[in-house]
Symmetry: C2
Subunit: 459 residues, 2 copies
Amino acid sequence: MAQKPGIPKGTRDFSPEEVAKRQYIFRIIKTNFERFGYQPIETPSFENAETLMGKYGEEGDRLIFKILNSGDFLDKIPVETLSDKNSRQITPLISEKALRYDLTVPFARYVVQHQNDIEFPFKRYQIQPVWRADRPQKGRFREFYQCDADVVGSKSLWQEVELVQLYDSVFSTLGLEGVTIKINNRKVLSGIAAVIGAGDKLIDFTVALDKLDKIGEEGVKKEMTEKGISAEAIEKLQPLFGFSGTIEEKLDQLGLLLAGSAEGLKGVDELRFICEKIAALGLDKSVLDLDVTLARGLNYYTGAIFEVAPPNGVSMGSIGGGGRYDDLTGIFGLKDMSGVGISFGLDRIYLVVEALGLFPAAVTATSKALFVNYGETEALYAMKAIMNLRKSGVRTELYPDNVKVGKQFQHADKRQIPFVVIVGDQEIKEGKFTLKNLATGHQDSVDFSQLEMMLTDEQ
Amino acid sequence: MAQKPGIPKGTRDFSPEEVAKRQYIFRIIKTNFERFGYQPIETPSFENAETLMGKYGEEGDRLIFKILNSGDFLDKIPVETLSDKNSRQITPLISEKALRYDLTVPFARYVVQHQNDIEFPFKRYQIQPVWRADRPQKGRFREFYQCDADVVGSKSLWQEVELVQLYDSVFSTLGLEGVTIKINNRKVLSGIAAVIGAGDKLIDFTVALDKLDKIGEEGVKKEMTEKGISAEAIEKLQPLFGFSGTIEEKLDQLGLLLAGSAEGLKGVDELRFICEKIAALGLDKSVLDLDVTLARGLNYYTGAIFEVAPPNGVSMGSIGGGGRYDDLTGIFGLKDMSGVGISFGLDRIYLVVEALGLFPAAVTATSKALFVNYGETEALYAMKAIMNLRKSGVRTELYPDNVKVGKQFQHADKRQIPFVVIVGDQEIKEGKFTLKNLATGHQDSVDFSQLEMMLTDEQ
């Protein structure tokens, strides 16, 4: 019996139009990555399970897709172990490989494994899918692309400057006006926690602070209280909620608040360096903003933290994020290798570009002309022209079957092919082609070189 | 303790140079697909297991990578079932999803699922990785890309003609001279089996014949004998081994041999149509050849069969293959949907292009110029120029740290960056840049517009 076709939840088929639009975004990201000196690498879709497990916290471990061993995978497992039915315990016994969960851990693994072949500082980009066994919901998928640019092997803050420019360059090329690139620094967060006397609760503190957008000032204070941060400490936070003014003014206020924390002041200095340079160099269509509540979940950030908000008026979460991590490759045995990087969220960027109507029409253009098929002789004559047009870069095709002309025109119309070329007895006798513009209905009798020119001009 | 990093056997990391070369081949394939009117689709990396299982034979089922269900996957399985330790029986109970094994079955599933949104005939291409739990060996991987172009919804032989042209166009663009596009027809094979009286042993017959290249005439005859094909039948095959001459001559000989088989003669007619049209239209750098021993393993071919051999002198298996299958979507409930398609074998094509030294140097070019970093003021001056160069499309970068100049030059050298731009006090004072060509040692003092021109010209 025939199966009713479907795909696993959280995954997607992409139609020609969707692929073309996605490719358009990928192309702009890639071109910018390369102009900024980043080089591409690719890593396998699945890694040894031990490479990934334990790198993303307990929640992450659960969300990693594991691949079942091949062959008789139960053979060597004692019956007693199986009888326990402890899935978590049995997983590593029957699954040695797991699907990539992000691009950062595989990148760290790559750097350590190939360290002798890499010239540092190493600027790499990577555009590949990742998989997460998350509960699917609107805008959250089990297979999605990440587009990452990272540099390892230098602590220079010029790299943070450049990453802000890179965000600006990509989003400006896409035509987005008023994207906000938010920046913060982990050292500032640590400093604040220290000066308010909550240094031992840094994680709880940052997790709560990170929710300011969602739950508001009172919500943040409530959560901090629940996590055991004292009322006195929370009181000292008050200036944070009232931060306003230019980036420079905010940095001055931060400097005062953090006067007692060497680490916090170092964070302020780093932020000042980056923001000053961006002010001097200017951005195209984006805006840089200092957001001292920005924490992002990831514990491995040690310096700059980035997050990108779409233009005002588009209701959507962040479309990019990143930061500096001072010791990512340490987990694989290579110490003191500082890295900094950013990621572009393809799916959300797609939705933003779509919502703002910014996909150029040419992106989804298909064939320029369909040659009508009137039979074997006519089709052969057409194919000679088609062959030469393709050599000149024109996308074109022959309707494969000699069916009613109306049906062939309808095909061109449904496919949004703008021109139809008619080749019958008369055209062959005269060595001509009848070119019909489907939008205007206008038609011309032309020779090959005119045909080529008209179809190329319009591209 | 730090883990020693590695990747699963049969998988690969790709370095920047390798990614660039692979992208070059992908780009040429994609551009040609689009000129020929094919449109891209993408399908999920994993499908529901039932979509894939049973579609590739027993061997195929074994080689499909299965994904372990998430959560407490053993929960609902009776202890008795587990105690049997029958891996094959338990697999479907703990694994609902499986990694894509090829692009053809997912394409068939896509066509059936989206049939109401598709305008037929549908010309689609798909360039995505597939996974097979095959024993890894030289040139055979567990993760590799397939690049497929197929048309569904028409039986027109013009499509076969066009697919031959498509092969020629891609390989000619890559610079390959003398690629052989071999063609045969399943109906001819059936006809031969019928006229020699081995019609009931068609599979054994074609499997043996397919090995002619590897085991020679005697080997083929021996295998056929072992499979129970009579000596008399094998005797009648003799003309096949002596086929020679032009395609036209071969077709005439085939016509005589198959005079008693209507199906066989239909196959000859189809081949004649395709070969005549290609003769009339001409190929660029490839050669079309009729190979009546070409069978390819796949049972679903019903008409044309294609296989592509690399140029003489390159020792390598086929670099492409394909054919017509009259009822692929039937397995998913959509009948009478004829399809024909070809596939490009990226990994082997890569090795051929590499062996023949045909990758253009520009493919692996990275940044055009590295700006030396002499400190904060100089770096800011440099970054202004870098920003504007990038806007003009020049790939360029700043060395991130103010370290010894020798080390910075060495970095440019190791990265094969051809130019270094020096910016010191003097240059800033004069509003100039010192551009040094690392290959010649020549250096110039230039203003920004000259710098831009020189770095753009050379691209």
